[in-house]
């Protein structure tokens, strides 16, 4: 079976800046990839290409064997950014419902059911400004997943949250994806988060943005928080950290 997402010699420059240079990466169906690397190394840019929000300067991207543009038109993409993309004048429920209204997709998931599952049953009629950061982000993820897209792209979704909420959200997301498998790319600055969630961690190096290493993570799922107390987890974190240091010092 061909990979779900294929990047072939993907390059992108913004004027003088080579944001991405000759990226080659195959992502398998249902695989969870964490993208990690120093600030400005092109993580967001890579994600935006998969989402058809940017066009490549050179190279090729195939998503499900098709161009990102076509995949987008088939409503197969879900996105979560660091800042929640919610309409301030719409309630949680309306914000999630909006995804279905716009895409017109029919899924077994319902906005109300998803919010219940996300622990927000009592907050369906609340407006975004009445929710905590973690709650907003859960609404945001619900809105990104309610049309059950096979591809889920997340850019530092938990970046603005405190440590404890982050841990909770991390475990929560792992569980949600176990029930609704998707090909997922997560951009993160947290090594813990990457090791906790990913099947493979892709480490990017800056100027020009390129892949510097790929680390396999094969802890069994579901992965619970107490995995972090095990030494194997610590060793994996250490391995990724060393690779990151190499990138930053180079």
């Amino acid at each position: 079976m061909s990979p779900a997402i294929q990047l072939r010699q993907l390059s992108k420059s913004f004027g003088e800046i080579d944001a991405l240079k000759d990226i080659d990466l195959d992502i398998q169906e249902g695989e969870f990839i964490a993208l990690i690397g120093p600030s400005g190394c092109g993580k967001t840019t890579l994600l935006r290409h998969v989402l058809s929000l940017e066009t490549a300067s050179a190279g090729e991207i195939l998503v499900g064997g098709d161009t990102p543009e076509r995949v987008r038109r088939e409503n197969k993409l879900g996105i979560v950014f660091q800042r929640a993309a919610l309409v301030p004048s719409c309630t949680s429920l309306q914000n999630v419902q909006m995804t279905l209204d716009i895409t017109g997709v029919e899924t077994p998931l319902t906005p109300a059911g998803l919010l219940d599952e996300f622990g927000l049953g009592a907050f369906k009629d609340h407006y975004p400004h009445q929710l905590s950061g973690g709650m907003q982000q859960r609404v945001n993820i619900a809105a990104a997943m309610v049309h059950n897209p096979p591809f889920l792209m997340m850019d530092e979704p938990f970046g603005a949250l405190d440590e404890m909420t982050r841990e909770f959200m991390c475990e929560f997301l792992g569980g949600v994806l176990l029930d609704n498998p998707k090909t997922t790319v997560l951009v993160t600055h947290s090594i813990d988060e990457a090791v906790m969630l990913a099947d493979r961690i892709v480490i990017l190096a800056p100027r020009p943005g390129r892949i510097s290493a790929i680390v396999d993570v094969d802890f069994p799922r579901p992965r619970r928080r107490d995995l972090k107390t095990q030494s194997a987890f610590g060793e994996k974190v250490l391995e990724v950290r060393r690779l990151l240091y190499e990138v930053e010092e180079a």
């Binding site: 058809s52 409503n75 716009i102």
Partner: protein
């Protein structure tokens, strides 16, 4: 005490204070009534000639509202064009900047000479004065739409229409309200000034004739009417804002 009733109390206090302070000023200054008439004289004039005042106020309001309605219609339409077709903006902007910076008191007599003493010059002057602030604010509001939300809409394949109604227009509403607060009063000022030049009716005409016959009581009466009109608009804006942005204090 609730905020609302406290606010009301402030207005009641002002309305009661104005005649008192006014009378004090008359008594302490010792100015003649034909220069500074007291509230008693002015209210008596308003009472005796109420139908006259009402008629001229109606004429001015009619001119102001027709001009302002067209200004809104055009300003909002052109703002939408600017945002969706930047080339239109490139083409029109130099014209707008020049026209905007010609003082409207200079344009008014030219319009009277060209168009005669119809209502047309008044409509046009009001239009010119109110069109630009509404245009500038609506453009700014449409452009201030949350980029994250726009990206989400794009990935979900939203139509331009959906993006406009769900993201851009809601973002423009507060900007539009701010422009309206200023432009509405501006429309009345512009109508009155236009009437100075040629009119046989309207508050502007009333002011000119009152000055010629040293009727300070009429001038103060017109001032009171203008203050009431301005305040009514302000209260209307506050009410509209509460309705349109009701979700904010839910």
């Amino acid at each position: 005490m609730t905020n609302v009733s406290r606010e009301r109390l402030g207005y009641v206090f002002m309305i009661v204070s104005v005649p008192i302070i006014w009378q004090l000023a008359v008594t302490l200054s010792g100015l003649q009534p034909f220069i500074l008439p007291g509230p008693g004289i002015v209210f008596k004039t308003l009472g005796n000639e109420w139908s006259n005042f009402l008629y001229h106020t109606g004429v001015t309001m009619y001119g102001a509202m027709v001009g302002y309605a067209f200004a809104n219609l055009f300003a909002i339409s052109i703002a939408v064009l600017f945002v969706y077709l930047p080339s239109v903006q490139t083409f029109l902007m130099p014209w707008f900047i020049v026209i905007k910076n010609i003082p409207f008191v200079v344009i008014a007599p030219i319009l009277v000479i060209t168009l005669g003493t119809t209502n047309m010059p008044k409509f046009i002057v009001v239009f010119l004065v109110t069109f630009f602030p509404v245009l500038a604010n609506v453009v700014a509001g449409l452009r201030a739409a949350d980029q994250v939300l726009l990206d989400r809409m794009h990935v979900l394949n939203a139509t331009r229409w959906q993006i406009f109604w769900k993201v851009r227009w809601p973002s423009a509403i507060p900007y539009y309200m701010a422009a309206h607060e200023v432009a509405f009063t501006g429309s009345i000022i512009a109508a009155i000034v236009a009437e100075f030049f040629f009119s046989r009716t309207g508050l502007g005409y009333l002011i000119v004739t009152a000055m010629e016959s040293y009727r300070a009581d009429i001038l103060y009466g017109v001032t009171l009417i203008a203050a009431v009109l301005g305040l009514s608009n302000y209260l209307l804006v506050v009410w509209l804002r509460k309705r349109l942005l009701r979700w904010q204090d839910a």
